[in-house]
Amino acid sequence: MISCDHLTKVYNGAGKSTTILMLVGLIQPTSGACYIDGTEVAAHPIEVKKKIGYMPEDVGFYADRTAEENLDYAARFYGLKDDERKRRVDDLLALVGLDGVGTKVGGYSKGMRQRLGLARALVNDPAVVILDEPTANLDPRGVLDYRRIVRDLADRGTTVLVSSHILSEVGKVCTSVGILARGRLIASGDREVLSRAAMQDKVVIDVDTMTPMPRITNPEILSAEYSQDSCSARIVARGDISALIAKTPYAEGILPRRLAVEKPDMEDILLSYYTEGTA
């Protein structure tokens, strides 16, 4: 549903915020093109903007207006009639837990503004919702509400694109993951598939020995941490070389204390891809 081709020449960090700004039509790609639902963003910005809901990382509002007024203003751009607009605004405020808050947005906490930002991104009932760091300022209750809302949206068939550096959060709500490094999409696809592709043979071996063990060398070893006295080590390998590793110290009469295969988390996946992508 969303695609970006050849997103080169972007000038900051990994490029996820820049990619999002291109997707919502705020900046133009220097080369290549962005598509949302088959529509090129740069060529048909208004058509695309009608389909998307966007919550920026640094979400901003008109401080001298209430949440209701801010949402009502946003809703006007999508051509909603008065009664429809009122109903939609009330529903969204209830959805994010801000119903009944009559104060002006200038007095809101960061978390409340984040909730309101999420409500505003949904004001046009978009087909695609783009959220940039959506849980950055939320309290635990807010995070739970956010997950519930995102899952509900996904269940209804809405595409939700979440950009986040809180990888545990991404792992909890996303079914597909794209990894950007230095302006390039280095991997994308189903999270489980990516996980298997990146980490399926990852082996973590903990070794304890009575006497210092020799350094183990093998091209499949990704990392190896030895204690100061070299009597214990934590070895991470790409392939399943547990037998080889276990055999080496065993042959010298050293018994490995623990040999375990762990399920990778999002950080392991990202680091694995990023290491390969930047190598």
Binding site: I27, Y54, P56, G60, F61, Y73
Partner: protein
């Protein structure tokens, strides 16, 4: 392409202006100044009219049609009140224009709402156009109220302007609006080029001071003499000084301190007159040219002509406006130029 976004933004901006405390304060000052200026002007007008009528009565009593005829063209006009009001408006109106425009874009940047606004289905030009329209609407409303208040005060005090005066009052309203709009557009430009509202306000004030004070100083003051030299000195040491005393529109001129020249060289006098004419013509040309880049200079030139009392020798408003066409075009061109620059800058701005 529909103008829905433009309409929504303009409406919101207009509403923001009307809700703003700054606007309330400046609007109140503007109305008070207009009312005070008008009442003061009417009091002076009533006194002048009374003096004028007294002279007319004397002329009739003495059966001196020459005296009456000479005074006929100097009948006082209520427009003199607008002339006074215009001088006050030039100050507060400029402040109003800058106050309404300097943070239009920077405020959106500071509150980080610009990114969200541009993510709505709206073209970028609709945003800047909508902001300008909202501001223009608020300024037009303020100026309209000022005009209505001034006419209402006149009417309440029993003065009904004739058609010509009414047209001139509308011209006054129009050029006053253009003056305020010029500084509004300037402030909007500064708002697009600045990172924050404080800088935008500072830059606006600096340009305003240059346009309103430095340029007139150059055009009329000692700077001109320093650059282009002093007025040619009259040969023969014949000096004249004049003392004018005026009561109403009756002007008396008395020569005092006359020194007769012993021997004036006619050739030198002729040369002096030629040099003097050239100097004055050059000064006038440069003054006119420099005035064109000063909005307040243009405003005062047009206002001075429009608020002239209409007499038998009056060339008529249309003729006056024809003479002042350059000033009027400059009054229209400057806000257009400021807004054009603001528009281009905003369209090219990198929003992140």
């Amino acid at each position: 392409m529909t103008a829905t976004g433009l309409r929504i933004i303009a409406k919101k901006e207009f509403s923001d202006h009307l809700r703003s405390r700054r606007f309330h304060l400046l609007f109140a000052i503007l109305v008070i100044i207009a009312a005070v200026g008008m009442i003061t002007g009417i009091v002076q007008y009533t006194k002048d009219l009374s003096d004028y009528n007294s002279v007319q009565m004397i002329a009739q009593d003495e059966d001196d049609p020459t005296l009456a005829g000479n005074l006929a063209g100097l009948k006082p006009s209520i427009l003199s009140a607008y002339s006074q009001m215009g001088m006050l408006m030039a100050g507060i109106g400029v402040v109003l224009g800058i106050a309404r425009g300097f943070d239009l874009v920077t405020r959106e940047k500071e509150s980080k709402s610009l990114k969200s606004l541009l993510a709505y289905p709206v073209f970028r030009d609709e945003v800047i156009n909508g902001k300008a329209l909202g501001g223009v609407g608020a300024i037009a409303l303020a100026m309209g109220v000022v005009l209505v208040v001034s006419v209402a005060i006149m009417t309440i005090l029993g003065i009904v302007p004739n058609f010509d005066e009414f047209v001139r009052i509308l011209v006054f309203g129009g050029v006053s609006f253009l003056l305020v709009f010029t500084f509004f557009a300037l402030a909007l430009l500064m708002s697009t080029v600045s990172k924050d509202s404080g800088s935008a306000l500072l830059y606006s004030l600096i340009v305003m001071i240059v346009l309103s004070s430095f340029i007139p100083i150059f055009a009329y003051g000692p700077v001109y003499s320093a650059v282009f030299g002093d007025t040619p000195t009259q040969p023969g040491m014949a000096t004249y000084s004049y003392q004018q005393g005026s009561s109403a529109y009756m002007v008396t001129t008395t020569k005092v301190g006359v020194q007769a020249s012993d021997a004036i060289d006619p050739e030198a006098l002729k040369e002096y007159e030629r040099a003097s004419r050239e100097y004055m013509a050059q000064k006038q040309a440069i003054t006119d040219l420099v005035t064109l880049v000063s909005p307040t200079g243009n405003y005062q030139a047009v206002l001075g002509a429009a608020a002239q009392p209409a007499g038998d020798n009056d060339p008529g408003l249309s003729s006056l406006l024809g003479v002042l066409a350059c000033n009027i075009i400059a009054l229209l061109a400057m806000p257009a130029a400021f807004f054009g620059l603001a528009w281009v800058r905003f369209m090219r701005e990198d929003i992140r």
